[in-house]
């Protein structure tokens, strides 16, 4: 325990995969500590958010200039949302878990109300989709907030029913019926298939985490598979998407339905091993659609190369690991379920997005959490991060350990490079002797 407390600054380095001279043994030891999930989640989410802001600026600059006459319009909006979201995340991370739990019912009702409001004159219809509200000049997508509300609500009600969960009625009411189905129905009514899938995944993930028997999932999975097949076969548009996904027909962007997929491939290939350099993307010049949104990973790969795109995958892996640790270490049912819900939400959405961009999944159209532009999505995701950090703090021993630290000022200073450099200089010889006997060169 003391070891950990003496070396709080090493966590950032460990989370980013840089050992900074730490031995394998000491890193492993730190990872097993109760504060590791907190810092892993904090660092991975922070880096993803920061990277997102930078890449939104780069990817949106050309389109923003064309549409608004100002390269920074999209970025500045995103920055404002980012700052608001970070403030909410800080507040959220300080809220005791019990308070989060109390927000479950108000949250789900608010989410449903907002989702219903989409179908009032307040709603905005865009390209056939009706999934946003116009509030004070901003466009708000209530479904994004529906995700966090569903996670909190689901975790709260299922935690209470943990002991009777084997009874189908208790598993289904009130999470699936009526709230889950209501929310999902409203989202699908707005023709937002991507968000619907995420909501579905959150519900399934929560049920899995609460311990619903596996045979239920087999049954539900079979029903779901048939449903998807029927839906797909019934729509030419969906069939085309599947065709372009696995049909191997996309050898040029001119082939119908292949435009996005091929231009995403172009962007990634342009980036190559080491990238064209920040700001150097070619495909963002109106060629790749949604370069700062659904396809931001392609622009990251184009500008920052393979290290950039793999770093995004690694950061989500770290975030997933942090969630997983909370799930496994939590003693409280709500904490465990909420962490599982967040994990399914973030990772499910990230994998759907990345899979679409790199051609391993059909293009569904979900943003990359924390990275893509979009105010509602960013704020909702940062609230989710706040919840995750609050959960991490509630782990046994974690809050204690965090409180004994000298406070926010010390933690802030720990990120200043000069301190890190000094430490690195001092510890490197030890690392060579211990961790890598042969040395690298």
């Amino acid at each position: 325990m003391t070891t950990i407390l003496d070396r709080p600054r090493g966590k950032a380095g460990a989370a980013a995969g840089v050992t900074q001279g730490w031995s394998v043994q000491s890193v492993g030891e730190w990872l097993r500590s109760p504060v590791a999930p907190y810092y892993l989640a904090l660092v991975s989410a922070s880096v993803l958010t920061g990277l997102g802001l930078v890449m939104v600026l780069s990817a949106s600059s050309v389109g923003s200039y064309r549409d608004n006459g100002n390269s920074y319009t999209v970025f500045l909006d995103q920055l404002v949302f980012g700052v608001a979201g970070i403030a909410l995340a800080v507040v959220g991370s300080r809220l005791p878990v019990a308070v989060w739990k109390k927000l479950a019912w108000p949250g789900i009702f608010l989410a449903l109300a907002l989702q219903l409001a989409v179908f009032t004159p307040l709603g905005i219809e865009f390209q056939g989709n009706r999934n946003s509200l116009s509030v004070a000049g901003f466009s708000l997508q209530p479904a994004e907030f529906g995700k966090i509300a569903l996670v909190v609500f689901g975790a709260a009600v299922l935690a209470a029913k943990r002991r009777v969960i084997y009874k189908p009625v208790h598993a289904a009411v009130p999470l699936i019926f009526p709230f889950g189905l209501l929310l999902l129905g409203l989202v699908l009514q707005g023709r937002d298939l991507g968000t619907g899938l995420i909501l579905l995944a959150i519900i399934a993930g929560l049920l899995w985490a609460v311990g619903l028997p596996a045979r239920w999932f087999v049954g539900l999975g079979a029903v779901g598979g048939v449903g998807v097949a029927v839906l797909a076969a019934g729509s030419a548009n969906r069939m085309q998407r599947i065709q372009t996904w696995i049909g191997g027909i996309c050898d040029s962007p001119q082939v119908e339905g292949c435009f996005q997929k091929v231009h995403a491939e172009y962007a990634l290939a342009d980036g190559g091993w080491w990238g064209l350099g920040l700001g150097e993307s070619r495909e963002k010049w109106g060629l790749l659609p949604e370069p700062h949104n659904d396809f931001i990973l392609a622009i990251i790969g184009e500008e920052l190369g393979l290290p950039g795109s793999l770093a995004v995958l690694s950061l989500f892996a770290v975030l997933a690991y942090a969630c997983f640790r909370i799930v496994t270490q939590a003693t409280d049912g709500f904490t465990r379920l909420a962490a599982a819900g967040i994990m399914v939400w973030f990772l499910g959405q990230a994998l759907l997005n990345i899979g679409s961009v790199i051609g391993m999944l059909p293009i569904i159209g979900v943003p990359l959490p924390l990275v893509s532009s979009g105010g509602s999505a960013l704020i909702a995701a940062l609230i989710g991060v706040g919840l995750l950090l609050s959960l991490a703090r509630s782990l046994p021993g974690a809050d204690d350990a965090l409180r004994r630290r000298t406070g926010p000022l010390r933690r802030t200073l720990a990120a200043v490079p000069s301190v890190g450099v000094a430490r690195r200089g001092r510890t490197r010889p030890a690392a060579r002797a211990g961790g890598r006997p042969g040395g690298r060169r």
Binding site: G69, P253, Y266, A267, G272, R282, L313, L347, L351
Partner: protein
């Protein structure tokens, strides 16, 4: 967690494949999709006058085009009084209004062009706009409105030099005149730019950009003087219209070098109008042939002097009428028997007097002298369509051809050929071919002088001096063409009023060709000027009256522009008439009348 890691690993492997292993070929395909090639037009060389003033110049212009499928989404916004941005117009009409305000085009017509485009995604809004107008349109930010660059050929002198310079027809091809003859030098080498473009065709600033720059064409410098050219055209036009004539030509030539300072014809055409027929666009000044008439008597007189048949004061008794070759000849104005010297015959332009001494020349001699002065062959000016004229060979002559030849009928030639005779006489007997191109100026401003043909002596300096002395008596207040005189300068010149062949019927039904040609200052000639008016119907028919004033105007302008001082001595006087009763010096019983050449033939 394990599932997540497996999926992430699969994704990482796919990324390695996309960004690493398969990247090269896909990236090449991506580049291929973005690359575009644009031709960079080479600037066509200018044509300038002798001082560098522009006569034909290419200017950059813009063609405003549009894709109506994009323009339809246009929203015109304005800042309202409260600072809010308001939409004040939408779609085609709003875009048309914006462009109409900038270019002055008709908004209704612009809207029509958008609603009825040439192609689904292409229409021409403004065919010819300035680069500045395009910048303003671009700033308005109407998506789908684009531009094509092109070079427009401008001719500052317009009609005044059009037949000479030629013009640029459709497809940027030169059509006629100097533009055509010197096309190779004027045309540069077009360049090419290869670069990456985004969706709307904008250059990707961080992408590939390779440019093979265009090589501009050479500038052509003419011997022409723009002011003189304009004045010549203007004076000629005025005179042709006043006289109700069919057409006219005028030229100003530097005597020493043969360089043309002006060469013009009327009617002309607007070189920027592409809808006219090729017939109307000919260069009449060098293509039209006509029977020269009395100016040709200069050749007969020169031949007589050179052959020793006559001298300046040779007495010639000109009858009222006379018969030759079965035809009756007379002079233009009826007169009693004239007692004229050789000089007087030329000065008074007597046909019969010319025949009387000219018939001492053989057919072949007459023909050879014509050819020697360049009649019957192109002058070597090098412009397209120049006519050689026609001098029939003696074997084809009829009974009267020999006589009409002597006073310039029965043969045809161009104005420049006639002017060449005057140039040779003025230049001490050395004929220099006319030229119009002074040289070329390349991209770096280096001037290369055009090669000029050398002169050739056709008559002796003495003969040329004699003829000059005689011709000085014509354009003077006492002479036969007082309107051609220039106060203060001594001018040598010759009128002509020739029967004109109607080009349609081929008969002498076309009225007359009235001309005046000459040079000045007579004691040290600088310029030769020719003015020809075809078929005047008003004022007069006489060359001295119709063409004389234009000659005088142009010559005075040319002399004064060069700062040539007026004469300080009285002009040389030659005897025009003789007294038939005067005794021949040294021969008591012989009078000049006895010696005179007279009509002694009765064979009719």
């Amino acid at each position: 967690m394990l599932g997540v890691l497996i999926v992430l690993s699969l994704f990482a492997a796919q990324l390695v494949r996309l960004q690493g292993l398969d990247a090269a070929s896909v990236s090449a395909a991506a580049l291929g999709q973005r690359l575009t090639t644009k031709a960079i037009p080479a600037a066509r060389g200018s044509i300038t006058d002798v001082d560098g003033e522009q006569l034909a110049v290419s200017v950059e212009r813009r063609r405003i085009i549009a894709d109506p499928t994009l323009v339809v989404d246009y929203k015109r916004t304005e800042k309202g009084p409260d600072g809010e941005t308001e939409v004040v117009g939408e779609g085609f009409t709003a875009a048309a209004d914006v462009i109409a305000e900038i270019t002055g085009a008709d908004a209704t017509e612009l809207t029509r062009r958008l609603t009825e485009p040439l192609g689904e995604q292409y229409t021409i809004l403004v065919a010819d706009a300035s680069p500045q107008q395009w910048q303003e349109i671009k700033a308005a930010g109407i998506r789908g409105v684009d531009v094509e660059e092109f070079m427009r050929r401008d001719y500052p002198l317009g009609e005044a030099a059009a037949p000479l310079l030629g013009w640029i027809g459709s497809g940027d091809m030169p059509a006629g005149g100097l533009e055509l003859v010197n096309d190779e030098a004027l045309t540069g080498q077009p360049g090419e730019a290869v670069y990456e473009v985004g969706r709307d065709g904008e250059i990707i600033t961080t992408g590939v950009y390779e440019e093979d720059p265009a090589q501009p064409g050479q500038d052509l410098r003419l011997t022409l003087d723009a002011d003189l050219q304009w004045r010549a055209y203007d004076a000629l036009r005025t005179r042709v219209e006043e006289a109700g004539a069919v057409s006219g030509y005028a030229a100003v030539m530097d005597i020493e070098t043969g360089e043309l300072r002006a060469l013009t014809s009327y009617p002309s055409f607007d070189p920027s109008d592409t809808t006219q027929s090729a017939e109307a666009m000919r260069n009449a000044a060098i293509e039209d042939v006509y029977e020269p008439g009395s100016t040709s008597k200069l050749i007969t007189a020169a031949a007589a002097l050179e052959q020793g048949i006559a001298e300046v004061d040779t007495p010639i008794e000109v009858p009222v009428t006379m018969s030759r070759g079965g035809s009756r000849f007379k002079d233009v104005e009826p007169h009693p028997t004239w007692y004229l010297t050789f000089a007087g015959v030329l000065a008074k332009s007597s046909n019969m007097g010319t025949i009387l001494y000219g018939e001492k020349l053989s057919d072949q001699q007459l023909y050879d002298w014509m050819r020697r002065f360049g009649i019957g062959e192109p002058t070597g000016l090098g412009l397209p369509g120049e006519s050689p004229g026609l001098v029939p060979e003696p074997s084809t002559w009829s009974a009267t051809t020999r006589y009409t030849f002597m006073f310039g009928q029965g043969l045809s030639g161009t104005m420049l050929q006639q002017l060449g005779v005057f140039q040779a006489v003025a230049n001490d007997g050395v004929m220099v071919p006319p030229s119009i191109i002074a040289g070329t100026v390349d991209e770096d401003g280096r001037y290369t002088e055009a090669e000029q043909a050398g002169g050739e002596r056709v008559i002796s300096p003495e003969t040329s001096q004699t003829l000059t002395d005689i011709m000085q008596s014509i354009p003077s207040t006492e002479g036969t063409a007082p309107l051609a005189a220039i106060p203060g300068y001594h001018v040598a010149g010759k009128t002509s009023t020739a029967s004109r062949v109607d080009p349609d019927t081929g008969r002498y039904e076309g009225g007359v060709t009235s001309s005046f040609m000459g040079f000045a200052p007579a004691d040290d000639p600088k310029y030769a000027v020719a003015v020809v008016v075809q078929r005047p119907t008003r004022i007069s028919e006489y060359g001295g009256v119709i063409a004389g004033p234009v000659f005088s105007d142009l010559m005075r302008y040319a002399l004064q522009r060069d700062g040539i001082a007026p004469a300080t001595t009285p002009p040389t006087q030659v005897e025009i008439e003789f007294d038939p009763d005067e005794k021949v010096p040294g021969q008591e019983n012989v009078t000049l009348g006895d010696l005179a050449i007279k009509d002694e033939r009765t064979d009719g």
